[in-house]
């Protein structure tokens, strides 16, 4: 079976998706990154391999997400793509009519505006991570419940409380204040969802022409409370596609499929065996000028595979670029 692999290594979660020749999803996995992008990429490879038939032939690999360059070196990527393009391509594959994509992940949130199947504008959070997955996780923990319970219980709210959502830290203090006043947990949960949706639309969505169909994806789209609050605030239906949490990886796989069809060369994929290699990462401070850049490097058996992180190109070394 010919297949294409997309790997999305984000700040909080690592996602892998495998598509067959007909661009159907045949395997996927969603794992916490836990600050270990290399190990989680390797673990993800082991997981998808188990889901795939023996005769699978990986004809192309693409990496995306904030650790896309690192993951690209590890697996031997044919394509390294930014997460904005990957998400747009993934969503459009399932909903070609989509005009707005809202993506909220572990630490960043994006909005992508699409007209006639083409990305015309996008935005990404810059100054504030309010409303992203990490914050919601943290608040669920504080309320002593799982993120799944957070999602369910927020729907039972009858009179949501008002919470100041301009800043996550203030949202948190405001939320604690409401708890001390004796408000119901459900009402606080949904109030928080509303505050975060307002924050998202006022920051990331500022000045963007949000038109239906609206697609909502990324890990936070699991949260029913946020979905409901988004629909209310936008006054329009919000579609959460199946496999929304791995949509970036699916988009990357679709992109590399297209890329490989137009290419004479075979895939640079190093094989599933890379999940068994021991990688060594380290960093040092470059002393060549007063910038004192922190250079990170990746090595196997003492041999340096890639280096990056400088302001100039002095140390820049990456086999994929």
């Amino acid at each position: 079976m010919e297949a294409y692999l997309g790997i999305d290594v984000g700040s909080v979660t690592t996602k892998l998706a495998v598509l067959n020749e007909g661009d159907e999803l045949v395997a996927h996995i969603y794992l916490p990154t836990q600050g270990k992008p290399i190990e989680m990429t390797q673990q993800g490879l082991r997981h998808v391999k188990q889901q795939l038939p023996q005769d699978v032939d990986i004809c192309g690999v693409a990496t995306t997400g904030s650790a896309r360059y690192l993951a690209g070196v590890i697996v031997g990527a044919d394509l390294v793509k930014n997460e904005i393009t990957s998400h747009a391509v993934g969503a459009l594959h399932y909903f070609p009519q989509g005009q707005t994509i809202i993506e909220i992940g572990g630490q960043d949130s994006k909005i992508i505006i699409i007209r006639d199947g083409i990305v015309t504008d996008f935005g990404m959070n810059t100054v504030c991570a309010a409303g992203t997955g990490s914050f919601l996780d943290h608040q669920a923990l504080r309320l002593n419940m799982s993120i799944e319970q957070f999602s369910q219980r927020s729907l039972d709210s009858t009179t949501p409380v008002r919470i100041a959502g301009r800043c996550t830290v203030f949202a948190e203090s405001d939320m604690i204040h409401k708890q001390q006043m004796g408000h119901r947990t459900e009402d606080i949960l949904y109030g928080l969802c509303q505050a975060l949706v307002r924050n998202y639309l006022n920051n990331v969505g500022l000045g963007k022409d949000i038109q239906p169909p609206i697609i909502f994806q990324g890990g936070v789209a699991f949260n029913q409370g946020i979905v409901k609050a988004l629909q209310e605030e936008l006054g329009a239906e919000v579609i959460v596609p199946p496999h929304h949490e791995v949509m970036g990886a699916i988009g990357a796989a679709l992109l590399v499929h297209e890329e490989m069809e137009n290419s004479q060369n075979g895939s640079k994929f190093k094989g599933f065996s890379v999940s068994e290699i021991k990688y060594h990462t380290s960093s040092f401070e470059c002393q060549a000028c007063p910038n004192l850049c922190e250079i990170a490097q990746l090595a196997v058996n003492g041999q340096v595979l890639a280096q990056w992180g400088g302001r100039c190109d002095l140390w820049e070394r990456s086999p994929t670029s």
């Binding site: 997460e83 083409i118 000045g207």
Partner: protein, 371 residues
Amino acid sequence: MRIGMPHMGNLYIPFKALFQRLNIDFVIPPVNNQRTLSLGVRYSPEGMCIPFKLTMGNLIEAAELGADTLLMPAGSGICRLGYYAKTQEQILQDLGYNAQILCLGVSQRKLFGLLEMIKRLSNNAPWSKIISAFRFGLAKLNAMDRIERVVQKVRPVERIKGTANKLFAQAIKAIDQADDYNTVKRVQIDYLDQLNQVTKDSKAQPLVVGITGEFYVLLEPFSNLDIEKELGKLGVEVRRTTFISEWTKFSLFLNPLGMNEKDRIHKAALPYLKRDIGGDGWESVGEKVLHAKEYDGLIHLAPFTCMPEIVAQNIMPSTKENIPVLTILCDEQLGKPGMLTRLEAFVDLLEHRRRATSNRLRRVHGSLSGH
């Protein structure tokens, strides 16, 4: 008296040439680096823009090298920049440096104001010598900008990535070291020639992206995280709307004669913005309207907290001259990975847009020939 001044791109080179010719004692602070930024951020009010903070760092580093007379651009009616020199002088004094700031005002008396200031600094050198030194500095400035324009075109299409950057760095060094007018000319010709001979991908049709916005962040690569080089790596041809040599030509020589290069830009902006809003905000809007046809997209650079550019930012996406605009706010918090992700996505957007447009044209042609 020892002169020092802040950096903006390679502007120190023409000034160095001018000062050396007139035997003026001067120091050049280290080019912008992490220490400059840290110093600037530490001693500047928090809400100030990145041009203030970096120039503050430069002035402190110049004072550390013994400069007691610091030149700082200023002017009336432009933006907060008008009072930067005074504020910075106060900060330097609070830090214990006994330095005086001279305002390099070019907004009022144009060329004559500047020449008179040079005359004072040079301890009353004869006018002939001042004018000759001034011309020498200008020659260096013009040579650097001419080479840079070609570098911008070579970067996206060179076969071996980084060749143009390397040649540009060598050219800047050679121009800096040239000690007479003819050497400057020769260096210019030599490097333009070398750039033309760089092996290029002849089939490449690079995307053309304009870069406009606030003067300082456009011209100081440290403040915009080398955005032009990064775009070059992505295979994009950059057209920057501002070059210091052009600006000098107009603001010092042609504007006093009644020729204003900005009239055309302001006129283009008129349907959307009818007046000057300070800084370069009016120009940013005008440049977008003016170049919408020749650029595939536009990157708008603005310092964080810059009021004029924030006004421009909100006007630019909605003009009827419809090209994609990406605004990047520059300050000490701007991170390179975040900026690169946005640039990559912006370039993808422009490529898809170009492909869709050419497909549509092909379909129109196809249906026409079918009839």
